[in-house]
Amino acid sequence: MSSKALEVDALQSWYGESHILHGLRFSVADGEVVTLLGRNGAGRSTILKTILGLTSKRAGSIKVYGTETIDMATYQIARLGIGFCPEERGIFSSLTTEENLLLPPKIASGGMGLDEIYEMFPNLYERRNSPGTRLSGGEQQMLAMARILRTGARLLLLDEITEGLAPVIVQKLGEVVSKLRDKGFTIILVEQNFRFAAQLADRHYVVEGGLIVEVVERAELGTKAQLLNGYLGV
C-alpha cells in the first residue's frame, strides 16, 4: 500500500463542451486533512466529482491508494474506499431517512455503527421513518454526511458540509471531523467557511479558474493570511 491516499496529476475535466479543470496536480497522504478553497465557480466541487468520474470527460492521472483510476467506472473507483458527500446532498425522496442512511453499501470494514451515528445526529434518529426529502434543509445535510460514515470508506470527499447548518451543529461537525482525523481517515474538504476549515486542515489548496493557484500549509496560515484574503476575500 502506498502512503499516498490520493495522487492527482495533470488532471483535466469537462462538462460536455465546457472545459473546467485545466491540469491539476496535488496529492494527499494517508491520514491527512486538506481543504480546497476558492470562490464560487472556481471548480472545487468539480475536482471532487472528477475524482469519482462523475463529469462527462476527464484526462490525466488519478491514483487512489496507488491504483490508477482514470479509466475506471465510477462504482469501481468508489470501491477503492471513497466516501462522497455531494454539494446538493443527494437525499433520496423514495427512501426513508433510515433507508437513506443504510443505502451506501459497506465497501470495507471499520465503518461506524448505526447507533453511533444516531448518537452523533439525534435529529436523524427522531425523523428516521420519514421520507428523506421531508427533512429540513439542515437535517438533509446531516444525513448526507452521516451515511458515508457507515461504509468503511477511508478517503472522504466532503463538499460544503456546513452549508445551511446551525452554528452549534457546525461546531459539532468540526468535532466529528477531527475525531475522524484522529481515527486515521483521509479527508478532502471543500469549504466556504474558512474558520471551520482552518481549525481542521493540514493543508489548504486555493483553486481558481480550474487551477491550483496556491498551497498553504497549516503552519503558514499566519504568514500567508494576507494572500488568502486576496484570493478569497475573507
Binding site: 420519514s130 439542515g138 445551511g164 461546531q171 459539532k172 467557511n193
Partner: protein, 253 residues
Amino acid sequence: MEETILKTIGLGKSFLGFSAVTDVNLSVSRGSIHALIGPNGAGKTTCFNLLTKFLEPTQGQILFNGIDVTHERPAQIARRGVVRSFQISAVFPHLTVLENVRIALQRELNTEFFFWKSGASLNALNGRALELLHEVGLESFANELAANLAYGRKRALEIATTLAMEPELMLLDEPTQGMGHEDVERVTDLIQRVAKGRTILMVEHNMKVVSSIADRITVLQRGAILVEGNYQEVSNNPLVVEAYMGSHGGDSL
C-alpha cells in the same frame, strides 16, 4: 396603519402526527427586518410555507394587516403583498433576466388572461424592470438567460423579481446560503437597501448577516418559540447558546 404587519396566533402544523410547528405566536412589526433563526429542523421553512399557504396549517390563525388570511390560497396571499423567496433559488431559467422581472410586474396591468393582446404591450414595463435590475446590480445582464447566471446573481434576480411585486412583506429563506464571502456581503447590502419602506422576515444561519441587519430576532426550537429579542439579548441567552449558537457564539466565520 397598524404597527404589526403580520401576526400569528397559535399557529401549528403537524405531519402525520409529527408536529413541526406548535403554537407559534409571532408578530412582525412594520418596517423592520425580522430574523427567524433556530436549529435545523426547528420549523422555520415550515413556518414560511404556512405563512404563504404553501402548506395548510393544522391550527391557528394568520393575520396580515389585521385581516385573517388563514384560509386564502397562495396566489391570493401573494396578491396581498406577501411574497417569498425559496431556500433553493427560484427563477424562470429559460426566460431572460428582464422577462423574469416582467412576469412579476405584469400582474398590475391586469392583462394576464388577454391571450389576444400583443406581447408588445408588455414593453411598457421594461423601464420599471430595468430600474429594479439596477437596484440589484443586474441591469447589464438584462438580456441574458437566467439559467446562465452565476449562483449569487440568481439570488439577486430572485430578489429583484420579488421586489417587483411591491411586497409589503418579504419572506427570505436563507438568502445567502452557499454563497462566497463577497456574494454574502453584496446580498446583505442589497437586503438592507430594499428593506426601506418594507418589512422583511428572513431565515438565516449566517450570524454575521443576522447580527448586522436584523432589528429583531425570533428563535425557534422544536417548532416553538424559544426567545425573542434583538441580537444582543438573543445571543447572550444561555438557552439560545446551547440550542443554537454554540460556544463560539455562532460566530464561526
